[in-house]
Symmetry: D3
Subunit: 252 residues, 6 copies
C-alpha cells in the first residue's frame, strides 16, 4: 500500500519511473545530402536516419503502379562499449542486422499507401552512431520522420501527386521488459541485459499494432505479464507519436 | 444469424475448423546417423530435424560449466512450389533463414538447463523437405523431439549425469492468423498469403510464452484481435505438447 | 580351386557377395512440389532427387532451339556420422560438391536430346538425406527417374511435343572398388574407406559408358584390375536400369 | 569591371581564396563509448573518428614489445548526394575504401612510437557521415585527435607508462588541386570533380612529409605545378596542426 | 618413302600421327624463388609449376609423423583465346578449377611416401600461362619435376633424411580422345572441342594407373573404344616418364 | 666534386650506382593468345602483361563514343620468397592488389585518347611471375607495350580508324627511395625493405607527371629529399621511355 506523502521508490539507475521514456530528441535535416533525414536520440542511443528517394521500383514490382519502401540498419563498429568487427570486413551481414533491417522495413510499409507513392522507391538507412539499448525502436521512430520529410520533398518536386496521401498514419516503436518482476518502458543497455523478458512493440499513431516481438530471455512469461507489457508499450508509443508530430510541426 | 442446430460453416479449404490443427505426424529416428532425429509433418509441411551432440562448447563459453544449444534452419531448393536458388550457391544466408535459425535456437534454449547439460553442445538442424506453411513452427516442435532423444542418448553414453534434468519442460510452436476477420490456427501456405495478421507463438508445456512474433501483413491489428490470437495459439500449443509427449512415449 | 560343396565365403559385412548390389528402393513422387521427384535408397544411403522444369533456357543458349539440363548435389549437415558445416554457412561450395554436381549434370545430359526438349530447362536437385557410401551414384540413378517424370509432366502440359523423344536411353551409375585384392560392387561407407581403388562408372541402358572415374586411393592399379572393375560396373548398371524401368512402369 | 589596383577576384564558389581552408571544426568526445573520439568537419564534410584501445597485439607482432595502430575508413550509404550500396551488402570492400584505410593507418603510424605504446592496439574508425570532398584528409586529421585522446586515456588507466612519449608529433592531411590552371587548397566536391590534378598530402606538425599522392585526373602535370601544390599543402597542414593542438588544449 | 596408293593420310592439323605427343619442353628452375620449379610446355600449352616446401603439416595431420602434398591449379585470365574473369574477382573458385586442383594433388600423392617426407608440407602451384588443351595433364607432368627438385632441395637442407626415399616413382598424365572415330593422343584445343570422348589418364613410371577419367562428350563409348584409349594413354605416359627423367638428369 | 682517379664507391649489392636502372628486358608477344603482350623484366622482377581488346564498353559508358582502358594486377602465389595464399582461395582481393590495379589503370588512361579508341575496351592483365621489388612499376611499363601492340592490332582489324591517334604519348613508371640517406633509383626487394622513404613515380614520354606516390616508411621526409627523388625518377623514366620505344621499333 502506498500512503500519502510516501515517495515512490526510484527503481531505475537513471532515475526514471518504470513507465517513463528516456529523453527523446529528434533533429530533422541533420544531413543535407538526403531527401529526408533525422538524428534521433533515445537517451544515449543515437541513430542517424536518412531517406533516399529514387524514381522507379525494383524489377519485380514494375508496371504495377505501386511504390516500394525498404530499410537497412547498421551499427558503427564503435557504437558500442567494445568494438565490433565491420560486417563489410567480415564479408557478410549478420543475422541480427538482417532481422532488424527487415523489421524496420515492414514497420514503415505498414503506414505507406504504395499506390499513392507511385512507382518510386524510398530507402531508409538507419545507422547507429552510439548504442545504449533500444536501437531498433529508435531507428523505426526516427526513420518515420525522415520518411515523412522525403515524401514532402517529393511532393515539392512533383514526383508524387500533390494531393496523394502517401502516409496513412505515423508509426513508432518502443521496447518494454520485465526486470526483477517489474514491467518497464524503454530499456537502456544496463536494463536490457538484466531483463527476463524483452519485447519490441511497433504501433501506429492510431494505436494499432504493427509488430509485437516478445522474447523470454530468462524464464518464459505468463499471459498476465504479456498483458502488462502490451499496455506499457501502447502508452509509450502514443507519447512517441506526439513527439514525432511535434518534430514535424504537424500540430502547430 | 446462426440458429440452433445449424452446423458451423466450414471456412477452410482443407475442411478444418478455425481452431483445428492440421494432421501432425512425428517419426522419431528417421535418420540413423544423428544422436536424435525426427521427421515432423504439419499437413504437407515436412521437416527433418536432427540433433548432433558433441562434447565441448564454443570458445567463448569454455570453463563455465555450461552447455550450448543452437539451431540451423534451411529449405531444400524445391521444397516450395517454384525452385529457389540454394543459399550455398548464392554464397550467403538470407535474412529470413537467419531469423528463423535464431528463433529455433532461442526457443529450445528456453527449456534447457545448460548447467545440467554440462560442457556439451547440441546442434539442431531443421531442413525443410516440403513446405506448405508453418515451417518454422514445425521445425521448433520437431527439434524438441530430436533434442530429447539426443539427451537420452547422451545419458546412455554417460556424457551427461544420469540424474541431470537437462530438459526443464517441453516446447512447441504454432502459427495463428486472421483471415477475412476470422482468427485461425496453423495456417497452410494458401491461408498464410491471405492472412492480414500472422503470428508465431512459442509456448512451453506449462503454457508459458517463450516467443510471440506478430506481424500485421495488411492492416494493423487491435488489442482484442491480439488477445484472440494468443488464446488460439496457447490452446494449439498445448495439443502439440501432448503429441510430443506421446511420440516420446513419456506418458505411457 | 573351388570344390563342389564348398560354400563361397561371405566377404562383406552386410552379407553380400562381391558382385551384389545393396537393396535398391525408388519412391517416385516423394515430394508433391516438383515436376518429378524420387527418393532413392542404396542400402542406408538415401537421396531425394527432384526435377524442376522451367520454360526458357540460360541466356547463352537462347535462340538455338535447344534445352538445358543441369544438376546440383548437396548433403544435409547430419547426413553423415559426424556433422559437417553447411556450405551456405561457409559461404562457398566445396570442391567435392562442385565435382559431383558437374558429374550428375553431364551424366543426365548424355541421354537427353536437347532439341526434342526444346527451349526448356530442367534442374535436378540431389540432396543426400542420409549417407552411407555411393551417394553420387545413387543421385545419378535417382535423378534419372525424377527427370523422366518431369518429361512426362511436360508432355502432359504440352510444354514439349507429344511425340518428342526427349530421353534417348536410361542412365545409371554404380561404384566399384578393390578391397583386399577383391573387386566389389556398390561400396557402403565402411568398404569405401578401405578400398585401394575406387571407381564410379556411369552407363546407359544400352550398356555404353558415359563416365569412368577411377582413382587409386592406395597403390596404383594395373590394367587387369581395371578390366575386372569395368566388368563388374557394367553388370551392376544393367541391373539398375531394370530397377529404374520397373519403378517407372516402363516394362509393364 | 576590374580596375587597376583592385584586389584579386574571388575564384571559388564558397568565397574562399585559393590558399584558404574551409571552416574546420573538431568536436572531441562526440561519442562516449570509445577511448577517444572526434567529430571533424571540413566545411560540409563530416567524419566521425573513434579510437579503440585494446590490450595485446595481432599474432604476427606478439612478443616484440611493440604496439599496433591501424585504421578503417567507410562511408554511410547516404553520405553522398546519391545513395551508394553498402559494402557489407555487396559482401566486399571496394578498392577505394581499402586504399584510404591503408593511407590513414600509415599516416598515423608515422607519428607513433610503437615501443612506447607497448603491446597494445589502437584501431581508428573513420566513418564519413556527410561527404563533400576531402573525406580522407578530414579522416586523418580527426583520427589524430581521437588517437591522442585514447593515448591520454590509456596513460590514465596505466596501460601505457606515464612518461612514455607515444606520440612523436601531430599529423594532418589536406587536399590540393589545380583548377583552371590555379592551384587551390582543400577542395570541396564541386571543385574536386573539376580538378585537372588532385593531390593529398600528409604532413607532420614539424612540416615533414608522410605521404604525397598526386594524380593527374586530366592532363599530366609538370614539375613547376607540382612544386606549387606542395607549397600550398605544407602551409595548409601547418594551419591544421594549430587547430588540432588547440582542440586538444595543448597550447593552453 | 610413301608408295602410290599407300600414303598414310595425315589426320591432324599440326601434322602429328594419332599416337604422337606434341613437342614437350621442361625448363627446370624457371623461377628462382621456389624450392622447385618447372615451366612445362605441351606444344603451345605452357604451365608454370612451383613447389613450395614448408616445415610442419596442417593441424589435422599433426603428430602422425607424416607429410602432406597438395596442389592448386589456376589459369591467367588471358591464357585462353578470349579473356576469362579472374576467380579472385568473382570471389570464388569455380568447379573446374577445384576439380583439377584436386586431381593434381591426388596424382602426386600417389608417388609420395608421406612417412619418408616427415612432417613437412609441399604445395604445388600450377599456373597456366598459355592454354592450348591438356593443361591439367601438363600440370601434373610438370608438377612432378618441381616436386622432385623440392625434395632434393629439402634433402640438401637436411629437412628430410638423406636416405629417405620420398618419391616412390615418377608420375605423368596425358589426354586421349576419339575424333571422327579415331583414337588420338595429347589433344590440343582444336581437337579437344571436336572429341566425342575425352579421357585424362594419370600413370606412374612403372605403368600403373593412378587416375582414369573418361567422359563421353558426344555419344557414349563402348568397351572396345575404352580399351584403345587406355593403350594409347599408357604408351604416351611412358614417353613422358622418359622426358621427365631426362629433364631431371636421372638417367645420366 | 668527383676528381679523376677517385673511384665512386659502389653502394648497392648488385653493383649499380644510385642513379642506375636494373637491366630491363621487354619480350613482346610472349603469349600468342592476347591482342598485345609483353614479358617485362626489371632485374629479377618478371611481369607478364597482356592486353585484351574487346568491342563495346561497360554499360555506364555506352553511347558516349568513348573507349575504356582498365587493368588488373596479381601475383602468382610463389612469385615471392615465401608462398602467399591465392586471393581466389581467400575469396577476396586484398587492399594492396586493388590499389595497384587502380594505379596501373589510371596511368595508362593518362596517355589514351578515349575518343580515338572509340567504343572499345582494353583490359590490361599484369601478372607477376617472379617478384623482386618494383612489380607495379614494371607492370605499368610493360603494360604500355602490350597496350600499344593491341592498338596496332585493332588498327589492322579496322576496329579503330586507321588515322586515329589512340596513344597520345608513352608512359612508364619507376621506384625511387632513400636508403641510408642516399636517394636511389629502381629498388630491388632487399633495398625496398630498408628504404626510409619509398616513392613510385609515373611519367609520360614528354616528362610530365601522371602519378606521384611517396610514402615515409621510416622517418618523414623533408622537401629537399622529395626534390631529389623526383629528379631521379624523372631521369629514370626517360630511360624507360627510350627502352619502350626501342622495343616497339618506333625509333627505327
Amino acid at each position: 500500500m502506498t500512503m500519502e506523502g510516501m515517495s515512490t521508490p526510484i527503481l531505475r539507475a537513471d532515475g526514471r519511473t518504470p513507465e517513463q521514456l528516456r529523453p527523446i530528441t529528434i533533429t530533422r535535416g541533420w544531413t543535407t545530402q538526403a531527401e529526408g533525414s533525422a538524428l534521433i536520440e533515445f537517451g544515449n542511443t543515437r541513430v542517424l536516419c536518412t531517406a533516399s528517394f529514387t524514381e522507379g521500383v525494383p524489377r519485380w514490382l514494375k508496371g504495377e503502379g505501386k511504390g516500394w519502401v525498404t530499410a537497412e540498419y547498421a551499427m558503427l563498429p564503435r557504437a558500442t562499449n567494445t568494438r565490433n568487427q565491420r560486417e563489410a570486413v567480415k564479408g557478410k551481414i549478420g543475422g541480427r542486422t538482417h532481422e532488424i533491417s527487415r523489421l524496420i522495413g515492414r514497420s514503415l510499409r505498414s503506414i505507406i499507401d504504395t499506390k499513392a507513392l507511385g512507382e518510386n522507391t524510398i530507402v531508409l538507412d538507419c545507422d547507429v552512431l552510439q548504442a545504449d539499448g533500444g536501437t531498433r525502436t529508435a531507428a523505426i521512430t526516427g526513420a518515420f520522420v525522415a520518411l515523412a520529410d522525403a515524401v514532402t520533398w517529393a511532393r515539392g518536386e512533383k514526383l508524387v501527386r500533390k494531393d496523394a496521401k502517401v502516409l496513412t498514419d505515423t508509426v513508432s516503436a518502443i521496447s518494454v521488459g520485465i526486470i526483477d518482476g517489474v514491467p518497464m518502458l524503454d530499456l537502456p543497455y544496463v536494463e536490457d541485459v538484466r531483463a527476463e523478458t524483452d519485447m519490441n512493440v511497433v504501433v501506429t499513431g492510431a494505436g494499432a499494432f504493427v509488430e509485437v516481438q516478445g522474447t523470454a530471455e530468462g524464464a518464459p512469461f505468463v499471459r498476465s505479464e504479456l498483458d502488462q507489457l502490451l499496455d506499457l508499450a501502447l502508452a509509450g508509443n502514443l507519447e512517441l507519436a506526439t513527439i514525432q508530430r511535434s518534430a514535424l510541426g504537424w500540430d502547430a
